[in-house]
Symmetry: D3
Subunit: 157 residues, 6 copies
């Protein structure tokens, strides 16, 4: 609904706050039957096969509003996160959690903490991960506040 | 030098940009001989012993302007980063790099990339670390832009 | 309610988490009848006239707790966003969405995505906007992680 | 619940968004009876004594999932925020609110705005605090967008 | 100089990094004689009168590339920062430093730390300010990482 | 050079700050002759052909330390930024500048401001772009500080 239509529907509201939602909200309407689109179905099928689960989480259901965006995002997630490489899968998820916390993405903090737990992150490791992030945030702000000059030995250029 | 003293010293500068520095700058003047303070010396000695090096990087030299801040920061860094725990030391440094990049702390990106290299991070791992951070930044912004609702299965409360 | 009053009202709660809200929360209580203040009414009337709608969204209802803040914020929004200028109105909203996502402001992502849609942003443009933001976030972190030196040709000083 | 268990429990959900929560969510399950752990009880007792209230807010109840993290965090909060020093307690809370807004921490914005109000922050001061933060955000982005060189007189190195 | 012109001027550079600047850089060329524009001169004169100094720092010299932006920014800085109000001037500067550190604006960290020093901030207060910012950054990330639900008593809505 | 080697090379430095660099620094050493690698040469050739210039800016020279990262990053930049689409090329660059400022990436602010200028951004548009970013930063912080609830009419879910 556009704001002006909303206003027409709510003529008595001038002196009180507008109704607010108790439910999660999004900026797009997710597609009702996304897998009727064969390109979406192909991505969802690959997610299920790669992750060995029938569960498709909301991130992919919402990205399905644009098939190209869905395809390119999943292709990159699969290549970077689900392909054996020089960093083990649990470490990858802990790095992802770190970035998600710092980027302030509540959805991603939830989904990647769940993924890390599924990959074996213990409560002790979770607590330690948060301790490192908290310490880094602290020293990062101290260095920025003092504008500490970079030591010459750190340069690789 | 205070701005008003600067102005008095630079009476001819009203119509041109003020001189700007070609050199690294900081917001405090580092103490000339910090280890003449025994509490600073104790911290620096502990850094040298813990890290098995005589090198004291600028972060600690600048933090020495306030002995309490120096002591408490080093104590936490030593406890979290230099004590054997459930996360290996290279992974810890990669998490620290991630936070430092996201917090936009140039000094910390330099110092912790150097530390990770010293602890064995290969160029392939460095590239992969950056790929994960870059991917997370991307999906983090997508989730925030779409305001994707958190799946109920992710909740632990 | 102050924390200590809350504690007195909840003496049995020591061994369980405190009740948490299912509803949206704010840090101030919005004024019940804001337009009884003629300065607030003047701003709300100008918002309605400028936007050609009777709808006043929550941002303005909450800012009304401080009349000066309300007036100065609206004056700047009107001048920058609602005055014909060298950037078209849809582009302005897409820039605003970009900043809002990066600043992690959920409210602003919602309100400006709605505004951009009202000004004609198509789903294809929305998806493309998010693709650009996601790509920028990615390359921004890569450049920060590598600390790439700025090319001399980019300087304008 | 792990994602794969969730999928098994939700076999019919393939063509619709997964259920989403109307309630606040967290990434860990808070401990049901945290004060049965004497180290947790000691921290909670010290919080109550220091703050002169029986109320323990959620931050501490959730941090109790890791006793060391709880103890070290409270020790630092007590030392920095609850010990008489060169900055008065209301100013400290206003600085804390500023950081919390900029770090995008909704929980912390709420808790420290409540704390500042409890310590006497008036609505006028609250509005003015927000005005300063808003102005700083504005000029910060302008300086970054223009990449204004630092004036030599500002250097202390 | 545009990138393509730069390339034509540097035909031998294909196999080596392009020259990089040792000097501070900006994204615009500051106006050589800004006060020949009477509107710029009026702003600069008001800055000098308000601050009781002849010194005009680079921020204003660079903002002078757009007279409207210069005027509106200075008007807001003067109103918020240089007008007696419910928050004292030193506290205002400490709040500004906090926001500048968190927004990662190096220029602003420098200029507002200098301003706070000029207004009487002691080294002890500077260290304490940084300690609060560092602690807030730490607890902010912990609360975001745990997704701690907001306590109902904090709500004002 | 590793920190411990640095320390051995600098035995006299214990009581003075370590030397700091006057020059731009990076966290990796750029490859001396990157185009001797045919995959790097293919990317650089495509950049030259796509952008109609012989100039290869540092971002690509540094990314060449990892061929896969170089290839995947350029492929995405080419697809999103250099392919005709529903958003015009100048608007794309202005969105990219916005994200770069908010992510605090100095390199990216420089390179994309130069790119936008090359694509016709006028000084008036540049000033207006910065005004929108500055205003958004301001209202974003106000909404976060007040924790304004999202209006129900904005929801699309």
């Amino acid at each position: 609904m556009k704001p002006c239509e909303a206003a027409q529907a709510l003529p008595e509201m001038n002196f009180a706050p507008s109704p607010t939602l108790q439910e999660p909200m999004s900026t797009i309407a997710p597609i009702p039957d996304p897998e009727s689109n064969p390109r979406v179905k192909a991505v969802f099928d690959d997610i299920r096969a790669t992750r060995k689960t029938d569960f498709i989480n909301n991130m992919w259901r919402y990205l399905a509003f644009d098939t190209t965006l869905l395809e390119s995002t999943w292709a990159e997630v699969k290549r970077v996160m689900a392909t054996p490489s020089s960093i083990d899968t649990l470490t990858k998820e802990m790095i992802y959690i770190t970035a998600s916390i710092l980027n302030g993405c509540s959805y991603c903090v939830h989904s990647h903490t769940a993924a890390a737990s599924a990959k074996g992150m213990t409560p002790a490791q979770h607590a330690e991960l948060l301790s490192i992030i908290a310490l880094a945030a602290k020293t990062n702000q101290l260095a920025t506040g003092l504008q500490v000059p970079v030591d010459a030995v750190f340069d690789k250029a």
